[in-house]
């Protein structure tokens, strides 16, 4: 510490730092207790889902939700997966992620390239034009989208979700990719240009490979958003065969409203992939979300 360089105040500051240390230890302990208590409160809902879904309805009613299950019952999951149609909902959400996420990210990256690395007249205006999309509520596009999808003959199918999902991902993705591309030295692109590379070649051979971390983060965040989205799917999807996980969950809730054990088994099934993803890729997810909001 720099305090020791000042010899006159040395003894005094040493004394003060000792008492400060004790005080520090005390506040740390109090803080710790508060944090642990809060963490427990935050974890309770997760514990409740597990405790509810692994028991029979009779056990739940007679012993209460917080009691340890008399017998671990896994049939709730089996029934949710099969009777509750979760296998279909999972398949649909996965198909959507596979088609929608890469498509959206490529379109966004293509647009981010000139916004980050080229100078042209309307650069800023176009960038702001895209950013405004961050504040546009989905609600304001729903009825026209429904009409449009009917006209295209894809209303009610998964394909109908791809255009609006891509569009509502674009503003954030363009923002993040533009920010990332700007960190790539322009000299790299310039050198390649002198060697005869085209802008198209530069984009695919230099910018995209160098952006792998940003692309991975965006992929995860977008997959998550796709998995979680409710409102658009609720409006555009009508048949049971095309339902995504959130719409399927609602359907399930309507169908088994008082079968709490089965209901929570369905919820647990629907969030397990996300929780696994979160445990292993937490760093990317959090980094991406903050990257979208704070710069550098």
């Amino acid at each position: 510490m720099t305090a020791t360089t000042n010899s006159g105040a040395n003894a005094k500051s040493l004394h003060r730092s000792a008492s400060m240390k004790a005080e520090q230890r005390f506040t740390d302990t109090v803080l710790y207790i508060v944090l642990i208590a809060m963490a427990i409160v935050w974890l309770v809902p997760f514990i409740i889902i597990v405790l509810t879904s692994v028991r029979s309805m009779g056990d739940l009613i007679s012993n209460g939700v917080f009691a340890w299950p008399k017998e671990i019952v896994l049939s709730n999951f089996d029934r949710a997966w099969n009777i509750g149609n979760f296998s279909t909902y999972f398949r649909n959400s996965l198909i959507l992620i596979v088609f929608k996420v890469p498509l959206g990210i490529v379109i966004a990256s293509l647009a981010a390239f000139p916004l980050a690395k080229m100078q042209f007249r309307f650069s800023n205006i176009i960038f702001v034009f895209f950013l405004i999309g961050l504040a546009i509520p989905i609600h304001v596009t729903l009825t026209p989208l429904l009409v449009m999808m009917k006209q295209l003959g894809i209303q009610g199918t998964l394909a109908a979700l791809i255009p609006p999902y891509v569009v509502f991902g674009l503003p954030f993705q363009i923002f993040v990719m533009r920010g990332f591309f700007r960190t790539v030295p322009s000299e790299l692109l310039e050198a390649a240009r002198i060697d005869g590379a085209t802008e198209w070649g530069n984009f695919w051979r230099i910018l995209m490979p160098l952006s792998a971390p940003a692309l991975a983060t965006l992929f995860i965040i977008d997959a998550l958003a796709t998995w979680n989205e409710l409102l658009i799917a609720l409006v555009l999807i009508s048949s049971n065969d095309s339902r995504t996980v959130p719409v399927g969950l609602l359907q399930f809730q309507g169908q088994f409203s008082s079968q709490y054990t089965q209901l929570m088994a369905g919820v647990l099934i629907s969030i397990t992939p996300i929780i696994l993803l979160y445990i292993f890729l937490q760093r990317y997810m959090v980094a991406g979300l903050t990257a979208g909001a704070l710069k550098e």
Partner: protein, 304 residues
Amino acid sequence: MSTITKTSPNHRATHRRRRLHLTPYLFLAPALIWYLVFLVYPMYQSLTISFMSWDGLSANIRFIGLDNYRRIFFEDDTARLALWNNILWTLGTLLIPTTIGLMLAVALDRKLRGRTALRAIFYGPAVLPLVAVGMIWAWMYNPQFGFINYVLKAIGLGFLARGWLSVYETALPATFLTAVWGGVGFPMVLYLAALQAIPQEQYEAAKMDGANGRQLFWKITMPWLREANVIVFSLAVINSFKTFDLIYTMTYGGPGRATQVLGTWMYFHAFQYYNAGYGAAIAWVIAIITLVMAIPYIQRMSRD
């Protein structure tokens, strides 16, 4: 940036320059077209629809000017209640998850053991689908078997037990509390990122001058968080006015219409009551509010 080469008499260079003028737009084209076709055009259409009386299906469509908007603010009590609920929700979001998120960030910025796990726990609910979050908490609030009433009875406060989501007074606060559970994570990580950017020397220098903890927080930490605050507050407002999933899952706007917000009320009109025109008008009220509230946010994001 040197994409545009300086003027050169060389014919090839002029040719190259002209091509470069077009190049940015070629790269932008897919995104721009997609954006115009699937966002801007539907927005324009719904603005048109908002001036119409239309069921959303038939060819029977009639221009009624600003009638739908007048109805929202002067005739429809539920629409005004929904707007009020959105305002309450916004104020609550600005105050509660934001403050908790900031306190957690300050606490977890210290070198505590297990802070990574703690951060993961508090951020965890934010990654779940809101439908699942709503279902989990609807179960927690269940009048007969729910955990909340179970605990209240266990600690001798059984007289407080009630059907939290089916009582007028508690339905909205109970739903909001669910949003708090899922909503502290985002401000927390944002504030954490901002805190890590504060140069430690500033704290050390201030400590040398005898500043206490509170002074350090208000004189150094808070000014450094100004940027993060703009983002957290803006997003809190924008997202509060977009609220839909939790209400739809947990209360369906009920009991009665007590927990209707603009998002759900718009949905009910446009897709259940066959009032597409009125629904579009409500949607535009939401859009105008969020767009205006987003101005500082977009300014911040577009700044270099």
